[in-house]
């Protein structure tokens, strides 16, 4: 714990919040979205998957604030519940990707030599696949489900995390405190994951915020293509897909969930962007 509080990166992150308005706005937005997702059962005026065929394609009104879809389901309720899918997929895939990618990057940077070339070569190959298409291919092969989406999106985002973790590790391994640890007879594993990792966690967190935005966008895109969590579960991407069929007579069906996706991605990007400015030494100096 002491390595963490002594880390200037964390105080830089804290000061980013004090000075950077963009990250504040992003932070508040994302907290509101998380609250909406958590409180969906309380906030939602109706059951998100209950159909009412007599009330289909109703425009926004006093009865249903955002209208109803082609099955007569309440759109506000579906957007609130859809937030859960987006956030869960985004968060879980980023956790997996940052754990695996972060560990690979630290190992590559710390051990160096042949191991480094092997790991980073593998990462180069992964980067040769377009993110969305790799996700699409994996989901098409293993089938669409919440768990498979998380796995597929996590796989597409391991490589960037490995790169982010490797660069600072290369610098850190030459520092005195690692030298001292070696002199004390600490194992490589302990040096890598107890002494180096805490120093790069803030980089991983910042990039995690930005890549979570990317993960949510990928999930929405896959759902839009028809490879999301299967119906009748409400997901933003599949709501846009269903609404797109009524683009001429009921445009709000596609527009409202689109805005939900957009606001969430913007919020995460604003938060991550402000935080990155704060920890980037080049920008801090300016």
């Amino acid at each position: 714990m002491s390595t963490r509080t002594a880390n200037p990166m964390w105080s830089a992150l804290a000061s980013a919040f004090r000075t950077n308005k963009t990250s504040w706005v992003g932070f508040v937005m994302i907290v509101l979205i998380i609250l909406a997702a958590l409180l969906a059962p309380v906030l939602a005026p109706a059951d998100p998957i209950e159909q009412d065929i007599l009330r289909k394609l109703e425009p926004p009104s006093a009865e249903s604030i955002l209208g109803t879809d082609s099955f007569g389901r309440d759109i506000l309720s579906r957007i609130l519940y859809g937030a859960r899918i987006s956030l869960v997929v985004g968060l879980a895939s980023i956790l997996i990707a940052s754990l695996i990618g972060g560990a690979l990057g630290v190992i590559a940077g710390y051990v160096g030599g042949r191991v480094d070339r092997l790991i980073m070569g593998a990462m180069d190959v992964m980067l040769a696949f377009p993110t969305l298409l790799l996700g699409l291919m994996i989901v098409a092969m293993i089938g669409p489900s919440l768990q498979n989406l998380i796995i597929a999106i996590a796989l597409t985002e391991i490589a960037p995390f490995a790169r982010i973790a490797r660069a600072p590790t290369l610098l850190l391994r030459e520092r005195e405190f690692i030298e001292a640890g070696r002199a004390l007879g600490f194992s490589d594993l302990r040096l890598m994951f107890v002494h180096i990792l805490p120093n790069i966690v803030s980089d991983l967190v910042v990039m995690g915020t930005l890549w979570m935005a990317q993960a949510i966008r990928t999930e929405a895109s896959l759902s839009f293509i028809g490879l999301g969590v299967p119906p009748p579960t409400a997901t933003w991407g599949s709501m846009v897909r269903e609404g797109f069929e009524h683009i001429l007579d009921a445009p709000w069906l596609a527009v409202l969930p689109s805005l939900a996706i957009l606001l969430t991605v913007i919020a995460l990007n604003m938060l991550g962007d402000g935080l990155r400015d704060a920890i980037d030494p080049k920008l801090r100096r300016e």
Binding site: D124, A128, L133, M137
Partner: protein, 313 residues
Amino acid sequence: MLRYVAKRLLFTLPILFVVATCVFQLARVVPGDPALVILGDQANAEALQALRQRMGLDRSLMAQYLSFLWDTVRGDLGLSLSSNRTVWSEISAVLPFTIELTIAATFVGVVLGVPVGVLAALRRNRVADYVTRLLSLAGLSFPAFVSGILLLLAFAVQLRWFPVVSRIVINDPLTRLHNLVLPSINLGLIMAAYVTRVTRSSMLGVLTEDYMRTARAKGLSRRRIVWSHGLRNALIPIVTVVGLYFGTMIGNSVLTEIVFNRPGVGKLILGALQSRDYTLLQGLMIVFAFFVVMVNLCTDLVYGLIDPRVKAR
């Protein structure tokens, strides 16, 4: 220069080999019998056996892998399972439409992104800079299908300036261009957001360099200093982003083609997914990965052109 090109080219071969191996593996993680997955559980035994034979599934995995590699090297991507045409003829029939779209979008992205980024850097921390930064952050947050739907609603449904469904009339270049406008603006605006940001930060770095002060001291015009001394030195990160963006652009073009109902690789992928055409998907992945690797190679080569020092390394 030739040695540099040869060296870079040689470096891409192992990547392409591993990519092909990964795609082969990926296409075989389907749980159960692929023939059963494709034909469904109502299929009779003979049909299943025939399909297995056609796909070469009755041979050993190693034999399948070797013949797959050999075929891929020769440019033979196999037969599409759903149409009986070769995978390459399926892809090459629609590829020009996608290439046309990505080139037009790259044009929009660079022509819009670079000048805006340079101006934002020159007006650092003033209103124009803040507006640019906010807009570009919003721009790169757009999933391509969301921006596509909003553009479609505004310019095709409301204003009726463009057709709701893009029709490609090969004989009429004007109609074809007209149909290209909205999709390429959709793809191009998102790309412009990335280009603007990297241009801005790269120019900010360059503007403080000593040679810029020297150029000012020599009495060169401001325009000359910014656009020829400044931008030329800021170019490498910009080219990197344009190159790296290509992978994202492929995904975005798939979504754009679906929204604007344009013929192209996007709709081919959609069809392949619906008909569970795994050889077609496999072929598409190889073609795309090949393109990404080639674009990265070109990016490296362009470095050599921009900065002669890169070649020497």
